[in-house]
Symmetry: C2
Subunit: 465 residues, 2 copies
């Protein structure tokens, strides 16, 4: 018996208020996986999600790891021979600081009116809980309407994506058989606009480090010692200030050796994309793009590698003045990588960069905190056609094929460990303020995301036939 999409989509419409309510419940749990202070809440969040999946008739469990637990759920109700989709998401969220800049509390989801209708504002609204719920609610609608899914489905939701997914690969390796599937689907990327759907086929990779430059053994009085001793803050600034030349090119040794230039037709396709550069920059208070010379904004964000200092601290930061020469200064920094940069070579380049510049009297300490290669998803994959049709069902138009400046290291892991390609079909918007205060998810995007996943489930099954 053919499974009909139309009543599923009607059910999605009819139960949308419930879907919003359940998303808010999800958002209320402060699952800051990167911070041990929130461990109990993070675990509670995993339990909540597993219970939701059980409620819709899937076999779900919360599985321990050395770090945050993983939620794994299976559904085998699909007809014989149906394809097997592995959905990946993460239930952990970024820290909410700086708290004083939130207009509503980060873990009390608020429905706020905006230029595109109502949005839900909370930490994790779009990254990644709102997007995870587009999948869960689509599965719910299919199961409620037809009692079964068109595809075999595994849902895999981890709790450490924001802290480098350090236990992901060991878990995938240990559970390879259980996690067999035909393709991976991830909703953690953006559309070009609320009516401009997209499939992301390029993701940047990442290398994340923390460095500390040590100088004198103790903090010093800057009168008594100033001028005669190395100042670790001055020196660390000098070193970090040399990360880029005057044309915005990163000076880490070997940085660009393996960088693959995009093809001409790709560059031409990108110029056709409905990307509003001015609005992209204006929405964050900038009137111009600043970066690597000779590159468009999309190239700077999608196909060129970067090196950003994410945090810096040292010496006296309090009220008033203190005339100190700090014993040490520290920074967190990360590089976004593109195909085919090798994260290990970049790590080695960074180490060399710092060691070559460590001045006399100082000692550099480098802590490596995570690394993952960039991804290109093959656009001739048989599953892509189903994804494209599902988007056309939900949006009435085909998706743009876009890159993404962010990193989803799990896509590389899925390929390497489980042999899966990944369809990156996401519903976020560029102004959602991910990793910033007042993160949001448009309810219009949430609704369309649920519809898209509902449609994709059918179209992926059809695509295989």
């Amino acid at each position: 018996m053919a499974l009909d999409l139309a009543p599923v989509l009607s059910r999605v419409e009819g139960d949308f208020d419930g879907a919003v309510s359940r998303l808010c419940d999800f958002l209320r749990i402060p699952s800051v996986g990167t911070d041990p202070a929130y461990d109990a809440e993070t675990k509670r969040c995993a339990e909540w999600l597993a219970a939701q999946l059980r409620d819709i008739g899937m076999e779900a469990s919360v599985r321990p790891t050395p770090g945050q637990p993983v939620v794994v759920a299976h559904d085998t109700s699909a007809p014989e021979g149906a394809p097997h989709l592995l959905y990946y998401g993460h239930y952990d969220v970024q820290p909410a600081d700086p708290l004083e800049l939130w207009e509503t509390p980060p873990f009390e989801p608020s429905l706020v009116e905006g230029p595109r209708g109502t949005r839900v504002v909370a930490r994790g609204a779009v990254d990644d809980k709102g997007q995870v719920m587009t999948i869960v609610e689509a599965l719910r609608a299919w199961k409620a309407e037809h009692g079964r899914l068109p595809c075999r489905v595994t849902v895999f939701v981890e709790g450490e994506e924001e802290s480098s997914s350090r236990n992901l690969v060991p878990f995938l390796e240990a559970n390879r058989d259980e996690l067999k599937a035909d393709v991976c689907v991830i909703s953690d990327t953006n559309m070009l606009g609320v009516d401009e759907p997209a499939i992301t086929y390029m993701l940047r990779g990442m290398v994340y480090n923390e460095v500390t430059l040590h100088g004198p053994a103790v903090d010093l009085h800057s009168g008594m010692y100033g001028g005669a001793v190395p100042n670790p803050i001055n020196e660390l600034c000098r070193i970090l200030g040399q990360l880029h030349d005057g044309q915005g090119r990163v000076q880490v040794p070997g940085f660009y050796d393996d960088v693959q230039e995009i093809a001409e037709e790709e560059a031409r396709a990108w110029q056709q994309i409905a990307f509003d550069e001015k609005a992209f920059l204006a929405s964050v208070g900038l009137d111009r793009s600043v970066g690597e010379e000779g590159r468009t904004v999309l190239e700077r964000v999608w196909s060129r590698p970067t090196c950003d200092v994410n945090g810096i601290w040292g010496g006296y930061q309090g009220e008033g003045s203190k005339t100190v020469i700090a014993a040490k200064a520290s920074a967190k920094l990360s590089c976004r990588l593109v195909p085919n940069q090798d994260p290990q070579k970049i790590r080695a380049g960074l180490r060399r960069f710092f060691e070559e510049r460590t001045p006399p009297g100082c000692r550099i300490e480098v802590t490596e905190m995570g690394a993952g290669a960039a991804i290109r998803v093959p656009t001739d994959s048989p599953w892509l056609a189903g994804a494209r049709r599902g988007i056309e069902d939900a949006f009435g138009k085909p998706p743009a094929m876009i890159g993404c400046g962010g990193s989803i290291p799990v896509a590389a892991a899925m390929q390497r460990v489980l042999g899966l390609d990944t369809l990156l079909v996401g519903f976020g918007l560029d102004d959602d303020r991910v990793h910033s205060p007042n993160e949001k998810f448009e309810l219009a995007c949430y609704r369309k995301g649920i519809r898209t996943h509902a449609a994709m489930l059918l179209r992926m099954a059809e695509a295989q036939r």
Copy 2:
């Protein structure tokens, strides 16, 4: 009737335990004048000191200012025609952070054994409470022994020296007549060793700024925006990293224009000074001096100007990783000045330095937090002879004439407003850890300091006759 020094010195010896006990009482009051959270304690400290001065028979009062109060005490018991000495000190102390590095609590003075005998360990032990008490206890011994002092004396102790003495000059100007004197005496500098007394005749000046570089309007996701936007932390590092060239010379425009080279005979005299360069550096974990090329350590610290970043912060500083591009980055920095640099010209040079380097898309915000010129005290002053003799009485040898890398802006204020030269006779040691955790004052230095001031009171009176 001539006033005899010997019994005064005996009394100092006999009451030394009491002097130590009173110093500890002084140290127990956490008078962190720079931090509003300690305002009540800072005021209580002023009251304590005024009470001590009243106890020894001086007319003392705590005088309000827009900020921390000033303690002023007078004694006119001296014979007709005796010189009038104005002692200056400060009862406020530096913040104690980082607290975790103190071996004993910063405001619970501890008597600890060390290589030179017992030292008292507490914030303010030497900067400046221990040194203030060398004066108070000398006055106490004279009054207790003879009922009068050999000189007319004013004691002036403020509560804002560690926060740029912003209410000092207005107070001096408003009370010019009351504060008339012949010479100012300050004990806030160092000796060369526990048996190596010194008079400081050069002090560096200071300019202190805070800068903030603003970029995007909000914190940004470093994947979504990285490569296409200015990163204020990277940019601030680049700017601060340009403060010095490869030879350690400060690149602020006009920085060295008015710098006076020391005279040849001065340079020769400095080479004779018993300064142990290796020990000076080794005591803070360094095996070599790093600074302006072609200059000795004493030149680098006494006669050459500097620019040190005292604190820096921006972005994510917590546990784990956060892939953010911060909206802004900040730093506190200060320049030590030498004769005849003009603090206002240096401030203007710093503004220009930052404005010239502010990149597109960013905005620099400069907050000026204090400025004072360097000082040279005339070595042919009639009062110096009395000071030298007093030191010889107490130490059995004449003092070395030394510079000081630190700043005591009040010395410039005393000259400018009250027309007074300043005798800088101090009893600290280089390893006292001023402005650092575990600040200390050797009891041997304390004792000799009291004896020195006791002797100086007589010798200054004699010097005038």
